[in-house]
Amino acid sequence: MASSELATAPNMKRSPTSPRTLFSSVMTVVTFACAALALIPLVAVLSYVLINGASSLRLDVFTQLPPAPGLKGGGFGNALVGTLLTVGIASVLSIPFGVMAAIFLAEFYRDTKLAETINFLTNVLSGVPSIVIGAFAYALVVLSTGTFSAVAGGFALAVLMLPTIVRTATEALESVPGDFRQAAIGLGATRFQTTLRIVLPAALPAIITGVILAIARAAGETAPILFTASTSRYWVRSIWEPTATMSRLVFDFATAPYERQQELAWAGSLVLVTLVLATSILSRWIVRKR
């Protein structure tokens, strides 16, 4: 019978009381608790914003200008447009530069001193507090053009986005297997053709993900916007004048002593969170599609 054969086999049954099993169970519970604890702030913030923001979120907040202090109604249509505009300018400035820099780092100067140095500087840049980047953009753009503007805000956000884009794009390019490069070169492609036609397409989904995450982060930033785009109570007419943005609006209205302004701050927060969440989900979806 089987039992007599098993008698000589090593014992492989579970023993729930052995120290090893006990330790493992305890650790499972502890890690689970820590994970749950870490989730609490996230859930709290999201639900708080949702509860407070949803009640005053009506269609006309997207189409109207902010109300004068003490008045009812109004919205943040201009700030929404302003956010899209500054982030758009930031993207136009940072994406081509960032991706091109990554191509040089990963494809043409890989493992050189120059690449190492630039990588290091990129990491330093990503650690610079965003308020400092705002101050830099203020000094460089606002002072030289003599006005707060969407361009100044966009420039500040571009500097903020750059390290993320460079880093994610470099990693994306480096993770493309060398086999593809060898195959293309072996067929008589130049380095440049290999990069453009083989490596870049293969890395594109990952690059797009990095870019979208950088955009999402930039859209929510307030500090570099405060004294570059500044704010405005009117619709955008030019990229060279002070421009309202969502994050600045939330900053101003949340602390205002008027009930309607505070409502709008919550609604604005909800819109911002949704924007950021939606872009993150979009980027995941792009990766998944591969």
């Binding site: 593809f180 293309a184 070169i185 072996g186 067929l187 008589g188 492609a189 053709q193 083989i198 397409p201």
Partner: protein, 268 residues
């Protein structure tokens, strides 16, 4: 293509090397390679692992240029032109001398685009559909894939991928095809298919093939070079060619003891 390379196609010896010494940094990987490769023949490189077969093979289309520590002395002539002369463009060289790698490496693109990639690079003006079909037929893959040319090349089986890579190499109509262990990741049936393919291809192309498979070398090749490796005074393991002759000679009546031992499977 460069006109001087075009004219060069006429002679009968395709490659001729004189005392090639190949280094990676200070390391002498292969020494004293003097060999002639004949037109429309299949030449096999055999020998133990690490003896420098791939290293020598990659010199013939200047693929070693991609390795920073690589350098070489001696002469390598492709149809009487010094391939390493300063005025030679390695990109043009690789258009004449195609390569199939050990691991099938189709691009993450459709089957069609995999084949069309090379011709497009060269600015091919003819009928691309026809060229794709012809290349796939030559590589004995057409029947497998004719209904799914739009599907990813990377979704094919390993053996099909390797034939796709061969078709891709043929599509640019090279003069020579270098193959580095093209069957090492294939099952026996795919391997036989590739070998049959080689026999057809040699009508039009000159083929150099590295293989670890003795039967393959004896079945499929016309000439065989046996490489071996020896530690020198500095303790570096340097490869060299022990014997190079017609394949029957190498397998049936080799001059050297070591060759005899290797081809009969009694080695080291």
């Amino acid at each position: 293509m460069a006109p001087e390379l075009q004219n060069a196609r006429k002679t009968d010896t395709v490659f001729r090397t004189e005392n090639l010494n190949i280094y990676y940094g200070d390391f002498l990987a292969v020494r004293d390679i003097t060999i002639e490769i004949h037109k429309n023949k299949i030449t096999a490189f055999i020998g133990p692992s690490g003896c420098g077969k791939s290293t020598v093979l990659r010199c013939f289309n200047r693929l070693n240029d991609l390795i920073q520590s690589f350098h070489m002395d001696g002469k390598l002539f492709y149809r009487d032109q010094d391939l390493y002369a300063a005025e030679i463009d390695p990109v043009e060289v690789r258009r004449q001398i195609g390569m199939v790698f050990q691991k099938p490496n189709p691009f993450p693109k459709s089957i069609y685009d995999n084949i069309a990639f090379g011709p497009r690079l060269l600015g091919y003006k003819g009928d691309m559909d026809e060229l794709v079909e012809r290349s796939l037929k030559q590589a004995a893959l057409w029947d497998d894939v004719k209904d799914k040319l739009k599907e990813m090349g990377t979704d094919l089986s390993g053996g099909q991928q390797q034939r796709l890579c061969i078709a891709r190499a043929i599509a640019v109509q090279p003069d020579v095809i270098l193959m580095d262990e093209p069957c090492s990741s294939l099952d026996p049936i795919s391997t036989l298919k590739v070998e049959d393919l080689l026999q057809e291809l040699k009508e039009k192309y000159t083929i150099l093939i590295v293989t670890h498979n003795m039967q393959q070398a004896s079945r499929a090749s016309d000439r065989t070079a046996f490489f071996n490796v020896e530690a020198n005074a500095k303790g570096q393991r340097t490869g060299y060619i022990v014997e190079y002759d017609r394949t029957e000679v190498i397998f049936q009546s080799p001059q050297e003891q070591a060759t005899q031992a290797y081809v009969s499977g009694r080695f080291g």
